[in-house]
């Protein structure tokens, strides 16, 4: 796991190719758009997508937890894909291994389960979350909102690169705009949306197992 330590807003952000950020000062692992339960949601409706995707996503998260030993996990929305299903129960069992770690979920448009379910899963649900004047909210903001900086998800950003010989390449990325940064989607059963960064924005792309600054 080769990360890129990005010094930004006086903090150290470890950008990880597993599509997560480790926030050194806070000992927090930040992820977004896991969409847990999506495969099961499809399967319940008779659409036979492979059944092991959510488990693998959680296994990757588990590996990151073991490596970085975070105090808390911040999920910037869309942790679960839809209504409660058995994949949520699987998460409950999985969650028990890390009883001492806080799970802070900033609610996304897909997080529609009843409050009691999140309570059972020991997940703290927030509309937004602010730590050290760093603001977390699911949908990206375009303008200054009074905080030092904002992190979002929602878009599943990908960056398109073009070059000589009419080459074209599309890869998931971390995007840092003037006011707002956007995390890549952590879940594997999620699509991408192209972003159009302006010249001053910072973009790190995920190139296989490494992180490369694209602009």
């Amino acid at each position: 796991m080769v990360g890129e330590i990005f010094n930004f807003q006086d903090q150290h952000w470890h950008l990880l190719a597993e599509r997560a950020i480790f926030w050194e000062e806070e000992k927090a692992l930040i992820v977004s758009d896991l969409h847990l339960g999506k495969a099961t949601h499809f399967r319940k409706s008779g659409i036979a997508v492979p059944s092991g995707i959510g488990e693998e996503d959680l296994f990757r998260l588990q590996q990151l937890i073991i490596k970085f030993l975070p105090r808390r996990i911040i999920i910037v929305g869309d942790m679960f894909h839809s209504a409660e299903n058995n994949e949520v129960q699987y998460f409950k069992i999985w969650r028990q291994q890390f009883a001492n770690i806080d799970f802070d979920l900033v609610e996304g448009n897909h997080d529609i389960m009843a409050e009691s379910v999140y309570e059972q899963l020991a997940i703290n649900v927030h509309d937004t979350l602010t730590i050290r004047d760093i603001h977390f909210i699911h949908e990206p903001c375009e303008e200054a909102n009074g905080y030092k900086y904002t992190f979002s998800g929602h878009l599943h950003p990908a960056f398109v690169m073009q070059g000589a010989g009419k080459q074209r390449l599309r890869v998931p990325c971390f995007y840092f705009g003037e006011h707002c940064g956007i995390l890549p989607a952590f879940g594997h059963f999620t699509g991408h949306a192209n972003i159009n960064p302006s010249e001053d924005d910072i973009v790190f792309v995920i190139a296989g197992k490494s992180i490369i600054r694209a602009q």
């Binding site: 399967r43 409706s45 058995n86 690169m161 059963f189």
Partner: protein, 817 residues
């Protein structure tokens, strides 16, 4: 002279009264039909193919009911007439009804297609007409209804019209499967007939229709030949750099005299967008045409299309700009000329379109070929020669389409349920699934019942329930959803287009609309429209007076050159080079050939031309095998892969029907020394599989497969909002299957389709073998040549690389930074 039955005499009398005489092939068909045979009738359009079988069934009915055939009603469904096109159904029904009325037989003729009104359907359910004209999709919808076996109780004959249109597609597989079920219901008592135009593999077409080892099939061929007069419209000025971009509009003034001198003209274009542009341009150029010119393509409101078809019948239209939507055998008598804009890319399609004019027996079909760029004139010359030699393409039947089979099994599961053993036996008897293994069958059943290899006990997959050997779907929501998704024609998600003030315009691809901003104007159904917003899956627009609009480009509009035409094309280039040609098309092109020869070279029959050109875009390599877009796509990937084994390099790839281009940011190490080795057939299959494009091609194929197999939920048409949480793209599904379920049969099917259908591996091998004995000519022109220009300006590109992802990204950054 054989003994003629009572029914036969009735028909002969009827024809004599009309001063008509049956053609020999019609009598042959009646005879074979009355003997209880199945088979195929092969005859050109305009000679009464329909009556060769329809009257056979009528004769048989009169024979069996000599006393009361004029009074017996409510006889139940006797004859099922499957037609690929909804537009054909009405026409056919009219012809049959007229005959029945004159013969005083009180049979009902019904139509069942996506356009059939709900009330009509309900009435049909209460009392089936004796003759039902139906599309393959609607036939499957019948099979998806409870108690469907009762519908077919009296059925004794199925006729599949335009079988040549269906055989090469998955719609043909729908027909095969439906026939297998009907045969199962009738315990072998069913007569099955096909009607087909001439194709290269008519014998195989019979096998596919009746199933292998049928032993009872006969092909009835007519010796009638359609007279076709092909005339190329030669541009007054030949441009030296032919470019496909202007879509032939420049040639429009030369098309007008044809329209003026004809009663009614059909103007065929190859894509919907091209038809929109032509419609607008014709009106602009000749305002007198307003009211007498119409537009007909698949995205236009159905009512409008029906109106156009009616108007064509009545002869009140001077011309109709259309696409493949009017390809099939609709009989518009007033049509006496056809203009083909751009190359039809195949002999069979060209003959079919030509046949749309001069429908009366013996009449000459006039077709004018109007090139969209100069090089297409060579295709016209090649078409003429191919028609003279009867070089008509084969239609390869689809094999082992797991997606269609899954859909079919679900169809049976939502109606009556099915017994696995019984259906397996039936399915195995079809041509498509003759090689289906028991293992694959079990996998398919598991896919429907447990969703494949379910992991762990917390799985909640729900679709089909299994009790012993019996499979059924009891979930009403799923059943309803399935019925809405029956069929194999997959298009990009289509949205309805309506005026703000109400009024339906047509449908448009979601991908196109998503690129528009409010206020942008576009053209649909010949109207200029301003995009307002999307609401409830409907595009709301208002009329626009804007001069400039965007014309939507539709996917899948590009048809590749057939191999027959490719071969003829190479011959014609040879002829052109010899300077002894008599073809007016080739003579007109002499200046262009001269420029090509001066700058580079014109390849002879035993040569392969390779051009290496450097421009500000990078290093170009152009290769001209003249084998059609599909073969070139694969060949380009293969060559790119092989070159990339010499050194790390990245290519972008473009192709057209004549050749392909590899473009790189570094010099391309292809030399006269290593050229032969780069085009070898050694290790062909392994290297094809390793080439990156196999995955990408399979990914593209997977889209249709996923929709047909019911993996993509497209929402309910019009009525409801799509269920957002169940939406996913085919590309994403492809990724998760590849990563988590690599043995999935649908994934395997995607790769198979990519290899055998799209890549046309056999044809590629032949091409490489031809190159192996050819002389490779490498030229290094100073500037772009007439041959390479159309390829270079083509914007659709693929990528092939042997560089590491990281290195590529770093390079891209360095260039842009």
């Amino acid at each position: 002279m054989q003994q003629r039955s009572g029914g036969w005499k009735v028909i002969n009398k009827w024809l004599e009264d009309k001063e008509l005489k049956p053609f020999k092939f019609q009598e042959d068909a009646w005879k074979a039909y009355l003997q209880g045979k199945s088979g195929i009738v092969n005859a050109p359009t305009g000679f009464g193919k329909t009556f060769s079988l329809f009257l056979g069934a009528v004769i048989s009915w009169i024979d069996n009911h000599p006393k009361d055939y004029k009074s017996k009603t409510k006889n139940g469904l006797q004859l099922l007439w499957v037609t690929p096109l909804r537009a054909l159904a009405k026409d056919l029904g009219r012809a049959m009804e007229a005959a029945l009325q004159e013969l005083d037989i009180p049979w009902q003729v019904g139509i069942r297609s996506g356009d059939t009104a709900v009330a009509t359907r309900a009435a049909q359910k209460r009392q089936m007409p004796e003759v039902l004209i139906i599309t393959p999709e609607s036939l499957h919808l019948l099979l998806a209804q409870k108690e469907y076996p009762a519908v077919f109780k009296k059925l004794h004959t199925v006729v599949v019209d335009e079988w040549h249109e269906l055989i090469g597609s998955k719609r043909g597989v729908l027909v095969e499967l439906a026939l297998s079920r009907l045969k199962g219901l009738k315990a072998g008592e069913l007569k099955v007939w096909g009607i087909s135009a001439t194709i290269g593999n008519l014998d195989e077409a019979l096998e596919v229709l009746l199933g292998p080892y049928h032993g009872n099939g006969i092909i009835i061929r007519s010796n009638l030949k359609k007279n076709i007069a092909l005339k190329s419209v030669i541009p007054e000025e030949i441009e030296n750099y032919p470019w496909a971009g202007h879509l032939g509009i420049r040639m429009l003034p030369q098309a007008l005299p044809v329209i003026e001198e004809s009663q009614t003209t059909l103007i065929f274009t190859n894509t919907r967008s091209q038809s929109e542009i032509w419609y607008q341009a014709l009106l602009k150029y000749d305002p007198m045409l307003a009211g007498a010119l119409a537009l007909h393509h698949g995205s236009i409101d159905q009512e409008l299309r029906i109106w156009v078809e009616e108007a064509l019948h009545n002869g009140i239209l001077k011309a109709v700009v259309c696409t493949a939507s009017l390809d099939l055998g609709v009989d518009f008598r007033p049509v006496d000329s056809v203009i083909q804009v751009g190359s039809p890319k195949g002999v069979a399609r060209f003959l079919q379109r030509a046949g749309r004019s001069g429908h009366q027996p013996g009449a000459v079909s006039k077709i004018f070929f109007l090139p969209t760029h100069a090089l297409e004139l060579v295709e016209a010359a090649a078409l003429k020669a191919a028609m003279e030699e009867d070089l008509i393409e084969s239609r390869m039947p689809v094999m082992l389409a797991f997606d269609v089979l899954l859909q079919y099994l679900m169809t049976l599961a939502v109606s009556e349920g099915f017994n696995s053993d019984e259906i397996f036996e039936e399915v195995k008897k079809t041509f498509c699934y003759q090689d289906l293994t028991e293992e694959e069958w079990i996998w398919l059943l598991a896919f429907l019942t447990t969703g494949g290899d379910a992991l762990g006990g917390y799985d909640e997959f729900k679709k089909v329930e299994r009790t012993g050997d019996f499979y059924i779907c009891r979930n009403r929501t799923m059943a309803m959803r399935h019925r809405l998704h029956i069929g194999t024609i997959v298009s990009d998600a289509m949205l309805k287009v309506k005026f703000l003030s109400g009024g339906y315009v047509g449908v448009i691809e979601e991908g196109f609309i998503s690129r528009l901003q409010a206020g942008d104007t576009f053209t649909l159904a010949g109207r200029n429209l301003e995009f307002v917003m999307i609401k409830d899956m409907t595009v709301l627009v208002r009329k626009s007076n804007a001069k400039k609009t965007i014309v939507p480009s539709y996917q899948g509009g590009r048809i590749p050159l057939s191999s027959n035409l490719g071969r003829m094309l190479r011959q014609k280039f040879n002829e052109a080079l010899s300077g002894r040609t008599k073809d007016p098309e080739l003579i007109a092109l002499q200046p262009l050939f001269n420029l090509q020869e001066t700058l580079s070279h014109i390849p002879k029959d035993n040569e392969l031309l390779v051009e290496k050109i450097t421009t500000k875009d990078g290093y170009h390599l152009f290769v001209y095998p003249f084998e059609g877009r599909l073969v070139h796509e694969v060949m380009a990937a293969l060559l790119a892969y092989r070159i990339s084994q010499i050194q790390p390099i990245t290519f972008s790839i473009a192709m057209n029907d004549y050749g392909f281009e590899l473009l790189s940011d570094q010099p391309i190490p292809l030399t006269i020394e290593n050229a032969k080795a780069l085009f070898t057939t050694d290790n062909l299959l392994t290297e094809l599989q390793t080439s990156v494009n196999a995955t990408e091609m399979a990914r593209r194929k997977f889209r249709d497969i996923a929709v047909i197999a019911g993996l993509i939920f497209q929402g309910y048409p019009g009525k409801h909002k799509a269920n957002r949480h169940l939406q996913s793209s085919a590309s994403l599904l492809f990724n998760v299957f590849k990563d988590y379920d690599p043995d999935n049969l649908l994934l395997r099917q995607a790769f198979n389709e990519a290899f055998f259908y799209q890549m046309e591996e056999a044809r590629l091998r032949e091409t490489l073998e031809r190159i192996a004995v050819s002389h490779i000519v490498i030229t290094t022109p100073e500037k772009l040549t007439p041959f390479c220009f159309p390829i270079k300006v083509d914007s659709l590109r693929d990528t092939m690389t042997s560089e590491k992802l990281e290195d590529r990204i770093k390079k891209l950054i360095a260039v842009n930074g």
